[in-house]
């Protein structure tokens, strides 16, 4: 029997009503939708003007804005991501790779492990020579310089990498840098080596399945080792830490599930339970905090955020990629807040294999200027090199191409190339 008119009317009203839901949600926010995770730029609502309308720019911007801000946008993204994951094992987060058993990686750490970003032995020899000069100069001022190598996830969990990744080449930035540091006598602590040694015997996971960084438990052990190392190598009797209790849970802290979160799935990949230690200060071997200035990538966040860290190191400053400075005074730009050499302090560089390509993010250049190991790059130097670029046809073409690829102005690219060239020439002058 055919459906009744009444039934069909109600059905139509329901369907049409549902079409209105996203619009209603956008303006009323009736349903408290979970925001999307990950780092992305939010677009402001475009402004309508006659010129913008006539040129079509308003329509393009508004259409984009609707696409990214309509009601239930986050839900739609999650549905899409979940379908892609189910049907094609595809994760829609920048550079995220799905490994076996749901282990998640970032491509750059895989590249580092496989040696695809290898800078070459000469590069690391030169870099270590520079670090050694800086270390010696700092030591003369009673500043202890130390380089800490944090474990990269791909190197720690190679067994879960997808087969399509291939095998490591045998040469990697980590292996060469670590070797050269030993040869040059640079103070360093190799957490990578230590973690790999502990992997099979550690009581709790040292690395999360769905996170980029070492686990809270892993970084707690690392912090403990760091304090012991500093006490052993210097006369700084800093306090240590002791674990007073452990909470094992699958309700993970945000930084232990950052990759998993950024995939924005409707049903995230189930995590492995992790351990969250409760800490107390151990003053049995030392009780005087010392200043610590750390130039690091995001692996330092655990150290910096842990409350106990601020009882061990005072003041504690975190220079994040030599771009942003975090300290008790607040957050500032590294361009405006230069490193101040303080006697009886520690300068630590903390880096993972995946970030060795850009390490130490020009901090060493600035440090060498501060230590009068090199001349500062002046505006005149930059303009001189820009003149060279403009008068060298091949160089200019190459800079134009780079600018187009990166989507930046030619002037910015010339300036960047000039600074790089000056520093390289200075490096070559410093290192014989």
């Amino acid at each position: 029997m055919a459906a009744s008119q009444r039934f069909k009317k109600i059905l139509l009203l329901v369907l049409l009503g549902l079409m209105f839901l996203p619009l209603l949600q956008h303006y009323s926010k009736l349903y408290n939708e979970k925001k999307l995770k990950g780092a992305y730029t939010e677009q402001p609502e475009p402004y309508l003007s006659l010129s913008a309308w006539n040129s079509g720019t308003f329509q393009d911007s508004f259409s984009d804005w609707v696409k990214n801000n309509a009601g239930f946008h986050a839900t739609f993204v999650r549905v899409h991501n979940q379908l892609d994951y189910y049907m094609a094992d595809k994760l829609n987060a920048y550079n995220v790779i799905l490994g076996k058993d749901g282990y998640l990686y970032e491509q750059q750490y895989i590249n580092a492990y496989l040696g695809r970003d290898y800078m070459g032995e000469d590069y690391w020899k030169k870099m270590c020579s520079r670090f050694k000069r800086a270390q010696d100069s700092l030591a003369a001022k009673n500043i202890y310089m130390l380089i800490a190598l944090a474990p990269g996830k791909a190197a720690f969990f190679p067994e879960y990498l997808p087969d399509s990744c291939g095998k490591p080449s045998g040469k990697s930035n980590y292996l060469t840098f670590q070797k050269e540091m030993g040869i040059h006598g640079i103070n360093h602590i190799d957490f990578m080596k230590w973690f790999l040694k502990m992997k099979s015997t550690a009581q709790y996971p040292l690395y999360p399945k769905g996170g980029i960084h070492w686990s809270t438990y892993g970084s707690t052990l690392a912090l403990d080792s760091l304090t012991k190392f500093i006490r052993h190598k210097t006369n700084f009797k800093i306090p240590g830490i002791k674990i007073t209790g452990i909470n094992v849970t699958d309700s993970l802290f945000e930084y232990d599930t950052d990759i998993n979160d950024a995939t924005n799935l409707l049903w995230p990949i189930p995590p492995v339970k992790l351990a969250y230690p409760r800490l107390a200060l151990d003053t049995s071997s030392g009780n005087r905090p010392y200043p610590l200035y750390t130039v690091a990538d995001s692996y330092n966040w655990y150290f910096y955020r842990t409350d106990i860290n601020k009882e061990i190191f005072q003041p504690c400053t975190f220079n994040y990629y030599n771009a942003t400075i975090y300290s008790s005074a607040g957050i500032t730009s590294a361009a405006n807040d230069k490193y101040i050499m303080r006697p009886n302090s520690i300068l630590m560089f903390l880096v993972t294999d995946g970030n060795l390509g850009g390490f130490p993010w020009k901090f060493l250049d600035d440090l060498e200027v501060l230590l009068k190991l090199r001349d500062a790059v002046t505006e005149e130097d930059i303009q001189n090199v820009i003149w060279e670029i403009k008068n060298n046809k091949d160089w200019l073409e190459s800079v134009k191409q780079k600018a187009a690829e990166r989507g930046i102005s030619l002037d910015s690219m010339m300036r960047g190339d000039a600074v790089w060239t000056i520093n390289k020439r200075l490096d070559d002058r410093i290192i014989k």
Binding site: M1, A2, A3, S4, Q5, F7, K8, K9, L11, L12, V14, L15, L16, L18, M19, F20, P22, L23, L36, G38, A39, Y40, W53, N54, S55, G56, Q59, S63, V66, K67, N68, A70, G71, H73, F76, V77, V79, H80, N81, L83, D84, M87, A88, D89, K90, N92, A93, Y94, N95, V96, I212, D258, I259, A262, N264, S298, N322, A323, G358, W361
Partner: protein
Amino acid sequence: MVFASPIFLLYFLPVFLLVYYLTQKKYKNFVLLIAGVIFYAWGAPKFIYVLLGTTFIDYLLVNQIDKYRGTVTSRIFLLISLVINVGLLFYFKYCGFFVENINALLNAFGVTGEITFTKVIMPIGISFYTFETITYVVDVYRGVHKPQKNFWDYQSYIILFPKLIAGPIVRYHEIAGQISDRSANETIDNKLTGLYRFAIGLAKKVLIANAMAKVADGVYGDPETAAGMIAPEMLSSAHAWTAALAYTFQIYFDFSGYSDMAIGLLKMIGFKIPENFNNPYISQSITEFWRRWHITLGNWMKNYLYIPLGGNRVKTKTRLYFNLWIVFLLSGFWHGASWNFIVWGAWHGLFLILDRMFLEKLTVYIGKPGRILLTFFLVVIGWVFFRVKDVATGFEYVKSLFGAGNSSSVLNVSNEFVLLFFIAVFFSFFASFKKTAEISENLFERDYRAVTHLAFAAATLAFFVICLSSLTADGFNPFIYFRF
């Protein structure tokens, strides 16, 4: 604005339907007109004035054509209207092509210097609405119908947004009565089945066509610039066929999906318009293909080109075949101002002529599956020319289909593509059998039981959610953290 976009699905469509359904009958055409102007102006804010201006001029001219019916004056007004409409099309779409080719010819004859022409942006939908306007003008001239007296009703016919950008090409007399009174069509059944059809069209476009496009574009490159194309000599035969088939299904599901959305949407607001696709890939000859593919264009070509050239009533077979070929060359040219489209049209024209000469009689011996496969094969080859940027590249890609390329190249396709490919194949050939053809034919015209309506409604909802998810999430690829 396009149907398969968040702005249309989440903003324009719900608001339009609400306003339209709540508006009194006598103002509904006005609402349609405003919606059409906003819809068109959104994508072409300057060309809307061209569209409104030319439809106004045509309205005036058509009234004069009718006033002076049977006289030379009427014919003059017809010619003026045709010159304006075809002239518009020529200027925006074909001028650049002719200038380029004249310059090439002059160059070949050693003539230095060239004609300069600043390339203009083609108004979206111009090929469709100029053709519709021509049908209106010519049909009034032929006395098929009287001109529409109400200027706003005439405008709302031309600027009827569901069909404005990509058809179907609707002749005025096919909906003349519906412009003034469509209450007979404004039934709950039509609103519901229209919505179901819209959702199915949306799914065809977003889920199937877009997935096929990714693979086709991966081989043929960007449709505008060919950037990223794989050179034909680098392709293995399997690789080349995968791309060709992917494009074959892309264009069908994209275009028929759009037609489904247009027809479905119009049905929801009381308009019944002709079908545009009827399972073209089950055709047993190229002749049949053109009765099933872009049906409204085929009808336009027949009524306004083929018949004026003499149609089937010409004295000789040679003249008949010549007319057929001209119609198909122009049909190809209508699709794009480039030689590859002309070659595509010529390819189809050739087989249409061969059908009349002997092919249809000969293929009786290979049975229905054989004829379907052969026709499909010919259509796929034609699509290769349709897709590429130039004729020479088209020939190279066709050669690679038959092993002229690099035999070791491998195309990696996702499981998702494979699944959608088989779905595309299934639905393309679904109506090959009598029973399945019956199901397909009256899918949206039956009186369904409540449970069937619920199934359709659930599918509609699922399609909307999945398609919107795909459209809104496209390109959303966050970093884990911002980097330096």
